[in-house]
């Protein structure tokens, strides 16, 4: 923005002082303008369009008309509820796995890495230098039937364990729910690690010393001091993982099979192949609302936990 605060001094006889002052108070609003305009054009308008589309009837050949047909939601849900629930199941699993992997990683970087801290942080972000698609495709190679990972799983009977959990069907890892969850966990791990790191790094080391001084063993000190103080990072990290993971359609497409279809894939198909716009729009809205509700409940629970 070019709206700068008026500079005192510098003789400007023509410019009256009063209006300049009033304009200065508008600066915050002017600064908001580009962001608001962006949101209106690229978020609010498409939302309204999507909402209206979900309530339309018709066909691609004859055109669609707004008929306020609420029934589309019911039809879409009865047809695709299993994909919706599966998406949340996969996303939740990937989030929990991400937390289990990410917390120790963030903890180590924050407290134990010393001068390697920045190097390790760059390594966490490094995957972003290649595209999401390429990274997921790479997992196809990693999990391929003749690869070392599959060999290891077969040799150690981990494959049998996964099979008994219905995470794989045959003797392969690719094209299984296991592969999809692994892909989701991997792809969203940086979103978990960075907020965790940020909140762990802020913890005053003297609080941990005080914990030890007050008879807390290292594990108790972690449970009573470090963990509660890192909760903001846990909440942020899990949200940043869960939300995009629930709507993801690349991992299930490239690493899964027809029985691992996630809701994002369904929406993608309805929009671009079946060309059933109302159903696709209704599913998009349902997904969004479901995530909103889940997140609201989660944040509220986590928020009260923090106060205990």
């Amino acid at each position: 923005m070019t709206a700068t605060v008026h500079v005192p001094g510098g003789s400007m006889p023509a410019a009256p002082v009063e209006p300049r002052k009033r304009r200065a108070s508008k600066v915050p609003y002017l600064l908001l303008l580009p962001g608001v305009a962006w949101l209106l054009v690229f978020f609010v308008a498409p939302m309204i369009f999507l909402a209206s589309q979900s309530l339309q009837t018709g066909s691609i050949e004859q055109g669609y008309a707004l008929t306020w047909h609420i029934g589309t939601y019911g039809d879409a849900l009865s047809a695709f509820h299993s994909q919706l629930f599966r998406s949340f199941g996969y996303a939740a699993t990937a989030t929990v796995l991400g937390l289990l992997v990410g917390y120790p990683l963030a903890y180590t970087i924050a407290f134990k890495a010393g001068r390697w801290k920045n190097v390790l942080l760059v390594l966490v972000i490094a995957p972003f230098f290649t595209s999401f698609l390429i990274r997921t495709l790479a997992w196809q190679t990693i999990l391929s039937s003749d690869g070392p990972v599959v060999g290891f799983f077969r040799a150690t009977h981990l494959m049998d364990l996964l099979r008994s959990l219905h995470l794989v069907a045959g003797n392969d890892l690719l094209s299984t729910p296991f592969a999809v969850v692994m892909g989701l966990t991997y792809n969203f791990l940086p979103f978990m690690v960075l907020p965790l790191y940020a909140s762990l790094e802020r913890i005053d080391i003297r609080l941990l010393e005080a914990g030890g001084d007050l008879y807390a063993r290292p594990f108790t000190a972690f449970r009573k001091v470090t963990w509660p103080l890192s909760l903001p990072g846990v909440v942020a990290g899990t949200l940043l993982t869960f939300i995009p993971a629930a709507g993801d359609y690349i991992n299930s497409k490239l690493l899964g099979n027809t029985s691992t279809t996630m809701i994002g894939q369904v929406i993608d198909g309805q929009f671009l192949r079946v060309l059933d716009y109302p159903t696709a729009a209704a599913l998009s809205f349902t997904l969004m609302l479901a995530i909103l509700v889940i997140v609201a409940v989660y944040v509220r629970r986590a928020g009260t936990e923090e106060l205990v």
């Binding site: 003297r206 609080l207 010393e209 005080a210 914990g211 001084d213 007050l214 008879y215 807390a216």
Partner: protein, 381 residues
């Protein structure tokens, strides 16, 4: 903890040494702190006092030496097993817990009974019972300080460590908390080891002070004897102000020592001179110097007033002696007229108020230059 009733709760430091790389933070320190005493480790920043405290707390591992409480060697004991609690410099209160839970933290970890009763009692002692459910950030600095103290003393440690506990408070609050700390210490009867760089704070509260410098103890004693009988120039300058004048011993007869200062003769008790050498620093505290209009008796020297600063309760003068050195003189404002710069005066002091230090020491050691304080007169050269 349990054995606080027995007399064997003295804290012993034996040849304690801590090195960080090649830097010796604490150098072969040996010390016994009697149970129930209020002990101060006093020194400038970087003198090793905090490192000593952290070694007692178990937060720092000694390079060499032992730490004992009574007969128990705790040198290798984990911090969470030591009967020692610390009041941290910036309190280190748990921000996610309320005041009650902060104070109850140590009791809960040890599975203590009557947690509520004990916490309520100690909150009563620090007069913050009504704020039990507040979070630390909702309290003022002075209140947070008292909570940090309560959180430590509720555990009845054998030794309570205080690391610059009043450093973050403003001057007025600090004075108030000094009295409060002393009251609480008397009431609970625990051994307090107090680390501070503020000599006034140490003198107000402590029974015994150890003045530390460069990782060693310069002098140990009660506040009055440290102030009246400093044995090094560092102590003379760090604890209050001192005038140190280069002098030459001319005779040692019986109880007395006669010295010559640029042609003027002074006497002092032989016991108050710590040096056997003939070259000494003759020291006298600014408030011990009498100012007279005429020469009266022995231990008298002529000088010219060069600076006057009126402080209210007293007036501080700089008086230049014939050979150029300036002495600091402090005079109570008891009605005597204020001296003007340029005025000639005779300075005198009791032989018993004079002390002698080894002349090989730096006369400026321990001089505080903070807060625009006057630098006490030192070497004339």
């Amino acid at each position: 903890m349990a054995e606080t009733a027995s007399t064997g709760g003295d804290l012993h430091l034996q040849s304690l040494t801590k090195q960080f790389g090649s830097f010796v933070a604490v150098d072969d320190l040996s010390l016994t702190i009697p149970q129930g005493s209020f002990f101060a480790l006093l020194g400038p920043s970087g003198c090793g006092k905090t490192t000593t405290l952290r070694m007692v707390a178990g937060l720092e591992e000694p390079t060499a030496g032992r730490i004992l409480i009574g007969a128990d060697d705790i040198t290798d004991t984990k911090p969470y097993r030591r009967p020692v609690n610390t009041v941290f410099q910036n309190y280190a209160l748990f921000p996610h817990l309320d005041i009650f839970e902060n104070v109850a933290f140590g009791l809960r970890r040890r599975g203590s009974k009557n947690v509520k009763q004990q916490v309520d009692d100690v909150l009563e002692l620090i007069e913050l019972g009504h704020l039990a459910r507040r979070k630390p950030t909702q309290l003022s600095g002075g209140q947070q300080q008292r909570v940090a103290l309560a959180r430590a003393i509720v555990n009845h440690p054998s030794v309570l460590l205080l690391d610059e506990p009043l450093g973050a408070l403003d001057l007025k609050l600090r004075r108030q908390m000094q009295l409060e700390l002393k009251r609480i210490q008397t009431e609970v009867g625990l051994t307090f080891v107090h680390v501070t760089h503020d000599q006034e704070e140490a003198m107000t509260m402590a029974d015994t002070i150890a003045v530390m410098n460069n990782g060693r103890i310069e002098q140990l004693g009660d506040p009055a004897s440290l102030y009246e009988n400093p044995v090094t120039t560092f102590v003379a300058n760090f604890l209050g102000q001192s005038n140190l004048v280069r002098a030459r011993v001319t005779s040692r007869s019986g109880e007395h020592l006669t010295v010559d200062v640029q042609g003027t003769t002074f006497t002092m008790p032989r016991a108050r001179c710590t040096s056997e050498s003939d070259d000494i620093w003759m020291g006298v505290r600014p408030e011990k110097i009498q100012v007279n209009a005429t020469a009266a008796g022995a231990n008298t020297i002529l000088g010219t007033v060069t600076d006057t600063s009126y402080i209210g309760v007293s007036t501080q003068y700089l008086v230049q002696l014939g050979f150029g050195q300036e002495l600091t003189v402090v005079r109570q404002n008891d009605g005597a007229p204020i001296l003007r710069p340029g005025q000639e005066v005779y300075l005198s002091w009791e032989p018993a108020h004079t002390f002698g230090l080894d002349a090989r020491q730096d006369a400026k050691a321990g001089v505080e230059r903070e807060e625009g304080e006057l630098v006490p007169a030192g070497d004339a050269s």
